[in-house]
């Protein structure tokens, strides 16, 4: 796949053939009679597609997006035939023909346009991604959307799982918020149809008329099992095929287990340290930079995480087009920076100080995330020798505290550029690091960064965009040190012996329309 960033030229080129991720051809002998049973936590709260956090619809194959991502992280059409940028503010969407919702209604231009406009106006996240979207029907299967400002990120935004999973607006309107009516409405296009759901179980059956073919699995049952160890036990006892949401603690634990296997995909998403630039000592660039230089990223990924995470070499995953490996470990450089800034250990207690103040950093970690806690403790241990005193504080929700108070200096947060933001670092930046960001944990207020983000969004030329992207990374890591990627986590899944050779997809949707046991 192309390493180029999406552009007019490439957008025109992506009028591709059906993309079959990891297709397994089925012989007649491979008749599967049992549904796939997945142990998960909090499957769903509502079937209402306009509510937030609707990741499950794409995850369980109920719904689909207009665009998807290749294993390399490039946006490509899925329900669309093509997506072409026809003017700075205009994109032409051509639908694949022959796609219908599960209720039999054809997905045509008219219904697509209605969906897009409604979603932009009513869904919180879709509205934030593509506000005031106008959609005009220009053919049976062709829609032209107009954005208020030039937006080069549209292809990736249409991949976004909890914003643009396509549904039948008429069916959703007719259901009028009633959960049973949603279940019966067949409002999406995916390979599996919601049969029933409760707070203990989500039952799906296959969509016989799915546009890519009949799914080999007769159905899927997603069980709500809140406790991770109980999910693993369910797999080991043969009561579930897969267990989701298993921490990397289980990786080494399952290395010799004949009943359960810990699978991982290649894609990386960062676990980051946000730094509060509003209070000392992280209001100073040299201290932030020293922190970034002093952390031993290799030790965290390879030793503390036993190799189940990858060493962070930059803010973005190494496989991501244009990412820079500019995050390095150099403790002597870190020490030199601190010396230069006047932070020296004048009282001999092993902690650097300046004007009577110790170099002390309160690092927040989510108590419920054992990997975050381990990482925070590891950072504490790594920074002690160069005289930085880290005080790890475990809190229930880092986000709440980081946004509402100033009683912290740094915070461990998970944030996947690819997994969470469909590879749109522009969107990620807009949400977290600009002066008007809604989740500006770091209190970043940098006009240069704001301008850079605006330029990135409106830049369509791939070479120029790549240049800006790298400029951004240098600014964020080397020049201003706003952010640290502590380590890179990978999507993971625990499976039983019948799926032990299963290829996890990089995109968080491990479960595909043609998923079958690999070792029946």
């Amino acid at each position: 796949m192309s390493r180029k960033v999406l552009s007019r030229s490439i957008a025109a080129a992506i009028t591709t053939v059906p993309l079959l991720l990891g297709t397994v051809s089925l012989t007649a002998a491979q008749q599967i009679t049992e549904p796939l049973v997945i142990a998960s936590h909090r499957a769903i709260n509502t079937l209402d597609p306009t509510a937030m956090n609707q990741a499950w619809q794409l995850r369980w194959g109920v719904g689909e997006t207009l665009m998807t991502m290749t294993p390399e992280g490039e946006p490509v059409p899925w329900l669309l035939e093509s997506l072409v940028n026809i003017a700075p503010t205009q994109w032409e969407l051509v639908l694949r023909e022959g796609i219908s919702f599960q209720n039999g209604t054809t997905l045509n231009a008219e219904r697509l346009a209605a969906f897009l406009e409604y979603q932009s106006a009513n869904s919180t996240l879709a509205g934030a991604l593509l506000p005031d979207l106008q959609a005009e029907v220009t053919g049976d299967y062709t829609v032209v959307i107009t954005t208020p400002e030039p937006d080069s990120v549209v292809p990736r935004k249409l991949v976004q799982y909890n914003a643009f999973v396509v549904y039948d607006l008429d069916a959703v309107r007719a259901a009028n918020g009633d959960e049973d009516a949603f279940a019966a409405s067949g409002y999406m296009t995916g390979p599996f149809v919601v049969e029933s759901y409760s707070d203990t179980e989500l039952v799906l059956t296959r969509n016989e008329n799915y546009w890519q073919g009949t799914p080999p699995l007769p159905g899927v049952r997603v069980l709500n099992i809140p406790d991770a160890q109980a999910r693993l036990t369910a797999v080991r006892a043969g009561e579930a095929h897969w267990a989701r949401q298993m921490s990397v603690d289980y990786g080494p634990l399952l290395e010799n287990d004949p009943q359960a296997f810990f699978l991982q995909a290649d894609w990386e998403s960062s676990i980051r340290i946000e730094m509060n630039q509003a209070v000392p000592p992280l209001d100073e660039i040299p201290v932030r930079r020293a922190l970034s230089l002093a952390i031993d990223y290799r030790e965290i990924a390879e030793d503390f995480m036993a190799g189940y995470m990858s060493t962070a070499t930059g803010l973005y995953p190494a496989e991501f087009a244009g990412s820079l490996a500019n995050q390095i470990t150099d403790q002597s450089a870190a020490a030199a920076l601190l010396d230069e800034a006047g932070w020296v250990d004048s009282d001999g207690d092993g902690i650097r100080d300046r004007d009577g103040e110790d170099l002390r950093i309160v690092l927040l970690a989510t108590g419920g995330r054992s990997d975050h806690v381990t990482m925070a403790l590891a950072v504490e241990q790594q920074l002690a020798p160069i005289g930085i005193d880290i005080e790890v504080q475990q809190v229930e929700r880092v986000g709440d505290i980081a946004l509402e108070t100033d009683d912290w200096n740094a915070a461990v947060v998970s944030n996947g550029t690819l997994s969470q933001w469909s590879g749109s670092y522009e969107t990620q930046l807009t949400r977290y690091h600009l002066s008007d960001s809604v989740q500006n944990y770091g209190r970043t207020a940098d006009p240069e960064l704001d301008q850079l983000a605006a330029d990135l969004i409106s830049e369509f030329d791939p070479d120029r965009k790549l240049e800006l992207f790298q400029q951004l990374q240098r600014l964020m890591v080397e020049e201003r040190a706003y952010l640290i990627a502590v380590t890179m986590q990978r999507p993971s899944l625990v499976v039983d012996e019948t799926y032990q050779d299963y290829q996890l997809s990089n995109w968080f949707r491990h479960f595909r329309w043609d998923t079958v046991p690999t070792n029946p």
Partner: protein, 281 residues
């Protein structure tokens, strides 16, 4: 405590504790725990928190007599550090509950009907709510944290003792020695200090001692629910909650803290038995 040494019960209790085999065994176990809590952490020199990722889940050896945990920390060092945290916290909770219940018992037992009724109804209310729900409520209001947890468990623990205390105080009002003192014009404060309090403390401490095991165990249960001591901190209950996923691969991670808890329960039960037998004698 009172300076007046008139309490037969107390002396009998003390004898029970020091002279009976049960009492001696219990005290012996407690002394070992105390030594572990006081000196253990300094011997192991911060090993309780030293991460050695390359030595994770090592079985017991000479270097690590109780093995290492999933982050390569020395389990012996962790239970030693945990002895301090857990026992101190338990002592604060049980002691706090004892103080509150004695105060409430005295006030209720010696005041007029109205105060008595109000306090007894309050006790009924607190007793009506299961301990876990009280802990959830207190932590829900104050937010999670080990300090708040101590408060929550104290709140959950005092009511039962308070009711016993009040019954004891009311009963002792009818004792002949107290009648005699009252007739002789001895002040209420002196009667309380000299005659009621020593018996009360003696009686309640037996029951309070028996609560120790329950309190230590509730740390573990609340840690499982994510409401206990911070994961990673050296506290037996939190260690057990953390160890649970490794319990079949690295059983030493479970056995060490569970053994300490067993030890504590055995020690306090033996002491309570000895105290009770002594006060009956």
């Amino acid at each position: 405590m009172s300076a007046v040494e008139s309490s037969v019960g107390r002396r009998g209790q003390a004898q029970g504790l020091f002279l009976s085999p049960q009492g001696r065994a219990g005290l012996g176990l407690l002394v070992v725990l105390g030594l572990l809590a006081v000196f253990g952490p300094s011997f192991t020199e911060g090993g309780a928190y030293q991460l050695n990722p390359l030595e994770r889940l090592q079985p017991p050896s000479i270097a690590h007599p109780f093995g290492t945990d999933h982050l390569g920390r020395d389990v012996l060092a962790r239970v030693a550090a945990g002895a301090r945290t857990t026992l101190l916290a338990t002592f604060l909770i049980v002691g706090g509950a004892l103080v509150i219940s004695i105060a409430v018992g005295l006030i209720a037992g010696l005041s007029g009907r109205i105060v008595d009724t109000i306090l007894m109804r309050l006790i009924d209310v607190v007793l009506a709510i299961p301990d876990l729900v009280i802990a959830l409520a207190v932590l829900g209001i104050l937010g999670p944290g080990f300090g708040n947890l101590l408060l929550a468990l104290t709140v959950a623990s005092w009511a039962y003792l308070g009711r016993l205390a009040r019954i004891h105080v009311v009963q002792s009002r009818d004792r002949p020695d107290i009648w005699a003192d009252q007739l002789a014009g001895v002040s209420t404060a002196r009667i309380v200090a000299g005659h009621i309090l020593p018996h009360l403390v003696a009686q309640l401490s037996v029951v309070a001692t028996l609560r120790v095991g329950g309190v230590v165990m509730s740390f573990a249960g609340l840690s499982f629910l994510g409401l206990g001591a911070e994961p990673g901190s050296a506290e037996w209950g939190a260690q057990l909650a953390e160890a649970r996923i490794y319990m079949f691969q690295a059983p030493w991670m479970v056995i060490a803290p569970a053994g300490c808890i067993l030890w504590t329960i055995a020690a306090t039960n033996l002491c309570a038995d000895a105290l009770r037998d002594g006060s009956k004698a």
